[in-house]
Amino acid sequence: MTWVGWRLQRTETLIAVGILALLAALLVPTGLNMSHAYSSDHLGACLDFQRSPDCAGQVGAFRDRFQSLLDLANWFTLVPGVLGVLLAAPFVFDLEHGTYRLVWTQGITRGRWLAGKLGVALVAVVVAAGALTLLFTWWRTPESRLDGRLSNGVFDSTGVVVFGYTLFAFALALAIGAIWRRAASSVTVAFVAYFAARVFVEYKIRNSLLTPLHATWKGIKQPPFINNAIVISQRVFVHGHEVARDGGFFGGSAKVAVPSSPATQATVHFTYLPASDFWPLQLAEWGLFTGAAVLLFGFAVWWTRKRIA
């Protein structure tokens, strides 16, 4: 069964390996470059004296040099989806081409077949997701040291969430494919749905996954506690009247958007997720996507066992 599962999964697995190799070919040299630039410009030392004007030039130079690459890297958020739905395709091919009627009438039961087939696919997904996670996380390290890890671009392509996204895309394509039984359409729709779910979670769910902290701050200088934090809301009061409201990710070099004229009397109420929430937030979002993946996977298996003939 292992051989059979592997043989029927081989083409897609090789394509996945190809995608990973292509990514590695792009990321390994540029990643090495960034690490080198980061250490040779002593940017690490700069971070301790963030507000020292001497460093602004070096940080700026690093940005100028790599910004286009880092912008390009935002597209990486699609890669887990591509790998996930790709590796689910062989399962749907069986249903589309009727070959499930061939394999389910050999000497093994449907349950064993599903266990073997999806087991092999799952191993491929886990390995691919693992490789992707390691590659992305390593590549993002200099950037995340500089700009924090809670920015959408870095958060989405670092750590265990990458793993969760890949599993989610895989299970989503399985579930849609089990019902629809058309590989190309199911995989496409699953990918679009994956992307929609990701955008939804990023903009509507992520900030409410953890209980935020509240703090009040007087003055126009940026308070240190919001360095690299997600500021869910920032309300500026002058003489008890709210004059401005804002939110978003606050990178290391961001400044509080406080109206300049009555600045001296300004009081700012912050609601925020501090930089130290990175791992709890990663785990929470990973749990969200992995939980959804488990449900979808279970549904696909149940549907295939009970409803398909």
């Binding site: 069964m1 059979v4 009727g98 009627r101 061939l102 389910w104 009438t105 000497g107 093994i108 039961t109």
Partner: protein
């Protein structure tokens, strides 16, 4: 368990939504028989066969295969199945297809598979997707036969094949029957040629079975009656009238009658299988004078 019939069903039914694809089907198929399941497209043939091999579960009634429940690990290895349009993995080679068969079956006769491929003039490194329809059908059949099944189930095996490939396919099936005690059930919407290939017959229309039994008995128990134009009532009191057709002067009846029809106003003829089957499937030539004339000559 070897004494159990190859297939026995009791009140078997399958419903999709509100529609019964198969309804109240009770029949028994003896071991060693070659049974044709005949009916128009959409009559429920595939449904019945898929219930037998356990691809789908019944909505009503029971089905026992080789004495056990379908799709269990006791029964599955003893059944061979070739689905309609004989699905195969097109990007596998023949050798890989056989390896799949070997991995998925406890009983697997590699020598048999190789011999058959050699006889078909195929190379093991050929890709299945590149073969002709007839050759693919033969590969699918070889896969089913090499597990040395006690029951071989074929769903419309020859419908998509040209006459030569059809002959070669049936030949392969029947040779396997000659070599072993295998039971065969095959569905078909083509009636011609069945008499030669099969010894048992089941007809199915709109989800219901009409005839089920040995072809010799079916043929022996039906008569064509020819007579002057009249009402079928007198015959219908004694026998089942399956079909009646009239011209302005003549009446032709197909009746189910064990033994003779003792009614002197009718001229009796043996009915041929195709005629009987078509009558049960609802074909009625109506007032076709030429057909009556042909039967009468």
């Amino acid at each position: 368990m070897s004494g159990a019939p190859a297939i026995s069903t009791a009140g078997l039914g399958k419903r999709y939504g509100a529609k019964w694809a198969l309804h109240d089907c009770t029949l028994e198929i003896p071991r060693g028989s070659v049974t044709a399941l005949v009916g128009p497209n959409g009559a429920g043939k595939t449904t019945l066969l898929q219930l037998v091999i356990g691809l789908i579960q019944p909505s009503a009634g029971q089905v026992a295969v080789l004495g056990g429940a379908p799709s269990t690990k006791d029964v599955l290895p003893r059944i061979g199945f070739v689905a309609q349009d004989h699905p195969l993995y097109r990007n596998l080679t023949i050798a890989e297809t056989f390896r799949l068969g070997r991995k998925l079956n406890e009983r697997w006769d590699e020598a048999f598979a190789r011999t058959r491929i050699a006889r078909l003039g195929l190379g093991e490194r050929q890709r299945v997707g590149k073969l002709s329809g007839g050759q693919q059908a033969q590969i699918a059949l070889t896969l089913a036969l090499a597990k040395r099944p006690e029951l071989l189930v074929l769903d419309e095996p020859v419908a998509s094949l040209d006459p030569l490939a059809r002959r070669e396919f049936l030949n392969a099936v029947l040779e396997a029957v000659a070599e072993s005690e295998m039971t065969v059930v095959l569905s078909s919407h083509i009636v011609a040629e069945l008499e030669r290939v099969c010894d048992h017959l089941i007809t199915l229309t709109a989800g219901r079975t009409q005839l089920a039994g040995s072809i010799a008995e079916i043929v022996a128990s039906h008569r064509v009656l020819l007579g002057p134009r009249s009402d079928a009532g007198s015959v219908a009191r004694m026998h089942d009238v399956i079909r009646e057709s009239h011209t302005d002067r003549q009446t032709t009846l197909l009746v189910r009658a064990d033994g003779h029809v003792y009614d002197s106003c009718w001229e009796q003829h043996e009915a041929d299988l195709e005629e009987i089957v078509l009558a049960y499937l609802g074909y009625n030539p109506g007032a076709s004078a030429s057909r009556s004339a042909a039967v009468a000559s």
